[in-house]
Symmetry: C2
Subunit: 219 residues, 2 copies
């Protein structure tokens, strides 16, 4: 497996993955709620300082035996049944408050869809989703569309046309393969919201030479 792929095969049961998701996902869910408040709260200095002390206490508890230095990579481990610890992924990571997270559905027709709600943490123009957040979510969904979880793909080029506004709130993504030739896969996708289609995207994805199929997400 190439250096870029960097996936680590581990001989661990599915329960190892289940246990960690059950233990840590609620923390990410709560962190997203705290972050939403940090952005808009109007409490006074004393309340903010008390909240900060709680965050520091949480960090101390979690650092107990942190496996790596702050900011280090989390990596992705996977087992024989295809379970993968892509918990830190910036788009879909269930243990990462930066990720909304995106949850994709792979249809039998090959279409990949996602529906999610984006609040203040994903704002750009007032009241609207940041154009770069649309790009992040589209890049990820289109990568999954190209890989279909059965091969490694890397983004070659991505072209985004911003055709309308995307208000904060519920948004929907949809992607499908429009052409495939050798190691090149072309994907078309959109992100839409309360005022219709906001961004149209076309991507060229490449299956690197000598790259074995890997399970899990590879964006």
């Amino acid at each position: 497996m190439s250096d870029l792929a960097g996936f680590e095969f581990v001989d661990l049961p599915d329960s190892w993955f289940d246990d960690r998701e059950a233990r840590f996902e609620p923390l990410a869910v709560q962190l997203r709620a705290v972050n939403d408040l940090v952005i808009r709260s109007e409490v006074d200095d004393a309340a903010a300082a008390a909240a900060l002390a709680h965050l520091q206490a949480a960090a101390d508890l979690l650092a107990g035996d942190a496996p790596q230095a702050p900011g280090a990579a989390a990596g992705v481990r996977f087992n024989a049944s295809g379970r993968a610890s892509n918990w830190g992924n910036a788009a879909v990571g269930r243990r990462n408050a930066v990720a909304p997270p995106l949850v994709t559905e792979h249809g039998e027709d090959g279409v990949v869809r996602a529906r999610l709600t984006l609040g203040a943490a994903y704002e750009g123009p007032p009241g609207h989703v940041h154009g770069g957040v649309s790009a992040l979510l589209l890049d990820h969904l289109m990568g999954e569309t190209a890989s279909q979880f059965r091969r490694f793909t890397a983004t070659g080029t991505l072209t985004l046309r911003y055709v309308g506004p995307l208000p904060l709130g519920e948004v929907e993504l949809s992607g499908r393969i429009v052409a495939e030739e050798g190691r090149k896969i072309r994907v078309h996708a959109t992100i839409s919201g309360g005022r219709g289609v906001a961004v149209e995207a076309d991507g060229l994805f490449i299956v690197p030479r000598g790259e074995p199929a890997v399970p899990g997400e590879v964006r």
Copy 2:
């Protein structure tokens, strides 16, 4: 001012902005540290549960008089001297743990640069920055390059060419205007890291008709 722009002029002194940044930015800094731990921590159920209780206590303190429902827009207020409360912006928001945050420098030559460190929360392929995160940061920096903080611009199209790997760690962005004609502004930018240029980007930005110049960031 158009509905899309949505900036709200407020008659507030700079100290109103300073006070809130001083009070809430440390919370976002600490949230980023907690999030990094939530992704990689290996502590047991009891420690994770205790950390969760601290996060819930922090949320209760911050919700004291939250101005809006969870997930609502934060909006952007600005005053006569150009200070803007774009604290929730997904790329540059100083009160938003989703944002790294990106801090841009506008050179006298018109070139906009940024240097930042990206850790586990921005990971895609193991050990590497998520391609969609590069897209998010480039979109934002290119928008600032087009607007130069002196006019409103909206992203028209964005083309990203992924030319090399971008390891987690220190990354650098640079953007410049390459052509300008009427309401169309063309911008070229790159993001680079430990293994050189990773993404080359070309963007077409539009100054909407009838849009007045607004201060602050408008992505």
